[in-house]
Symmetry: C2
Subunit: 467 residues, 2 copies
């Protein structure tokens, strides 16, 4: 295809035409970024048109053992080795903390380098200044990973929602506290016990202050609210309360009233009245979408005056989700450096699709049959499914015996089976004297919550498990 | 701020420096786009740096009465009036249907014009060809509005998830059928009755075939799967079943088994085995996030190998949500035309934020008090809240009478009150002899599901409503 050949023409790199990357930090996130960039170098080169080349990595200790060990000659303890290297066009900052990260980013931008950062504290406190500096220098600073891990939030606010006036934003932005609150809510734990669990699992730090006092969430809210409302919201503008004074009883009473308790980050914008930004534990109706966001997941609900309510949910932290956002920003910048704005909308089709036949589908099935209400029917039906087609049954419910025509309705849930086997079994069932009519059959979509043998016992029905 | 002044310098338009737009179609979506572009011209000019100027609008009938009436001299029935107008740089296609929309888009791209489209049928069938043509011409075609209305889906797949290999995608992509299935599920309606309701409300067309047979969802799935898997998935590749053979009984049995029934669009990619794409009704565990997406809402769950599961939910159709996506694409192109790739990351802060004091917050409150278990306490507490601070109470629960110290726990839910009044009441309650201790107080976050007087009666507790 024409598009393809054009891409290939520009994607053959000349020697030295790679885009030079300097990585600052080789902790949990930095190791993830370095490892994925190494493992997927050729994949990302195809997506950009030129290779990404990590030139230097800033670390505190050159000799520490790490999850991922880059070539030793890449490591340096001197920031100047990155900031003065003419081969480095993009600095990726994943050190965390305000200093020295803030100073390094300023120096990177001031020297005409692009910056990608995951640093919520620096962006919340110094975002406007760094963005202005980038603009003055004709470069850019991207910070998708600073809020919500791998969930796209910054880019949608900058691009996809731009036709709207955003009126409100409600979010769960801190996975640590959401994990603690989930344990308190589901297991009846007190705060200290739930915190201890989170610490044991590595979800909370030894000093959990930043999380449990809502400081981390306030940084993230300041960034989102600034973007959403096109204004400058500082972390100190955010009214903030932590979760330390919640007790098991509060969760119990809230539940009795139909509520759950979540640490919410909330921003409202009323034309003429300004912005209200706050982070505090709040009762939320149990049926609200955010009320169902449990464990270490994050979610953000935004309201735009054109598009209405939109919800984004996913893993808000962790090495790989954060790496996903950091590399997305890096590839975006690399494409701009490599190609300019053109070619952004490509379909990215490497080849015509290889489509698997539907007959190869593996699924569980729901089957509703109208059958004569007499002995022997069940064994015939089970024989067609099991003996003839190898389809095993997880549940059978017999429903609605009709006195009028002496028939009953049989609902069958199968274990995993092949679509082609199921279609063949259906054809056979349709001609079976023991079956008056195949009422319906439906596929069961497996999900996080569905095990292969799942099925619950309804009231007043014959349920036979595991036939 | 430096950034601000730079933006202003470039945003003063010279006469005639606007970006010329040709609009094709003035139906439900087209009228929305035309009206919002007219109403927000100065807002969008600030966001782009140059004004958007609608030069011509293609209609079928110049004299039809419309929801929004543009200047009559803009209207034309001749496509050539747009496609030959040198003042038009961007063509916005919101006519719908395969032809003549497809031919017009080809001509627009071939003449070096940028294109924005909401057309799922054309993009699903001809996307690769149009994208290749755009690339050859050094322009671009954007199509965010073709899937999921205002929910950002295309742009996140093109940009934010690019570091990932997408392994699967599960979605509710058709609001009409989701509305019908929601009515069948919640109200026990049969298919025809639920369809009739959807038609009466304008959610379904007189000929509902495209929706109820899954054709519309298959177009959208083909577009998403092509992007997600970097391949070309045609609508004819999608295995497809509609919802017409579902009965009220199926919903009842599914519920008894712990499931709901949704029309799902599903795409899987297994390395080495190709792509499986299908649209059909499926049983989905009732606790799955997609199972809770009701009515005309759409949702897409994607799984990336780095970021894990991410969910996007919102209004998948309608004039304003679709307008939100069309204008986002238009502004993106206009910025590229006006400024090149630079300046994309600006914070967009028009001014330092006006932050509302937290004391002005209006909220409902949850209050837990330890009180002496004797007569007269309740009236004193209610007196402080109601008489002294004007805070009215929606629910009171008395819990956990302690025999040891003759105290009880009192849980109070208030109606809407002012934070400053609540804080003052709390101070007074803390010194009140009738209150041993203020156990906790929490704000209640109002949502779609919470009315001002909401509160349910728990078992085994004294509940006093509406004091």
């Amino acid at each position: 295809m024409a598009q393809q050949s054009v891409r290939h023409a520009t994607s053959v790199p000349e020697r030295g035409s790679g885009i030079g990357v300097g990585l600052m930090g080789l902790g949990v996130v930095g190791s993830g970024v370095a490892r994925i960039l190494a493992e997927r170098a050729s994949v990302y080169e195809r997506r950009i048109g030129r290779p990404l080349q990590v030139r230097r990595i800033l670390v505190r200790d050159r000799h520490r053992r790490r999850e991922f060990d880059p070539a030793p000659n890449l490591l340096t303890t001197e920031a100047a080795d990155l900031l003065g290297d003419p081969r480095i066009q993009v600095v990726v900052e994943v050190m965390g903390g305000e200093e020295p990260a803030y100073s390094y980013m300023r120096r990177a931008l001031a020297s005409g380098r692009y910056v990608v950062t995951a640093n919520k504290e620096v962006m919340a406190k110094h975002g406007p200044e760094l963005l202005a500096l980038a603009q003055d220098q004709g470069v850019d600073i991207l910070y998708e990973a600073s809020v919500g891990g791998g969930i796209p939030l910054i880019a949608p606010l900058k691009r996809d929602l731009i036709a709207n006036e955003i009126t409100s934003l409600r979010a769960i932005l801190n996975g640590t506290t959401n994990y603690i609150l989930t344990r308190m809510s589901h297991d009846g734990l007190g705060f200290q016990a739930a915190l201890g669990q989170a610490q044991a699992l590595g979800y909370a730090e030894a000093d959990p202050t930043n999380d449990v006092e809502g400081i981390d969430a306030a940084y993230k809210l300041a960034i989102l609210a600034s973007l959403a409302f096109r204004t400058t919201v500082q972390p100190s503008d955010v009214a903030r309360e932590g979760i330390t004074r919640l007790t098991a009883n509060d969760f119990r009473y809230a539940r009795e009233l139909g509520y759950v308790i979540k640490l919410l980050a909330i921003a409202h914008h009323d034309a003429g009245h300004g912005v209200q930004v706050r982070v505090h534990p709040a009762l939320l109706h149990a049926e609200e979408p955010l009320a169902k966001v449990d464990g270490v997941f994050n979610a953000v609900e935004m309201e735009g005056d054109l598009l209405g309510r939109v919800l984004f949910e996913g893993q808000g932290a962790g090495s790989m989700p954060t790496t996903s956002a950091v590399i997305a920003d890096l590839i975006d910048l690399a494409r701009t450096i490599a190609n300019g704005p053109a070619g952004r909308s490509t379909w990215h089709h490497a080849a015509a699709g290889v489509i698997r036949p539907f007959s190869e589908l593996q699924s569980r099935y729901y089957l509703r049959l109208r059958v004569p209400d007499r002995a022997g029917v069940l064994s015939k039906v089970c024989g067609v499914l099991g003996d003839d087609h190898g389809i095993s049954i997880s549940d059978i419910i017999q429903k609605e015996t009709s006195q009028a025509d002496q028939t009953a309705e049989l609902v069958i849930m199968t274990h995993l089976a092949r679509e082609s086997d199921m279609q063949s079994a259906l054809q056979q069932l349709e001609t079976l004297p023991a079956v008056s009519r195949v009422g319906n059959f439906l596929r069961v979509e497996a999900g996080r919550l569905t095990s292969a043998g799942d099925g619950s016992a309804p009231d007043g029905a014959v349920v036979l498990h595991g036939l």
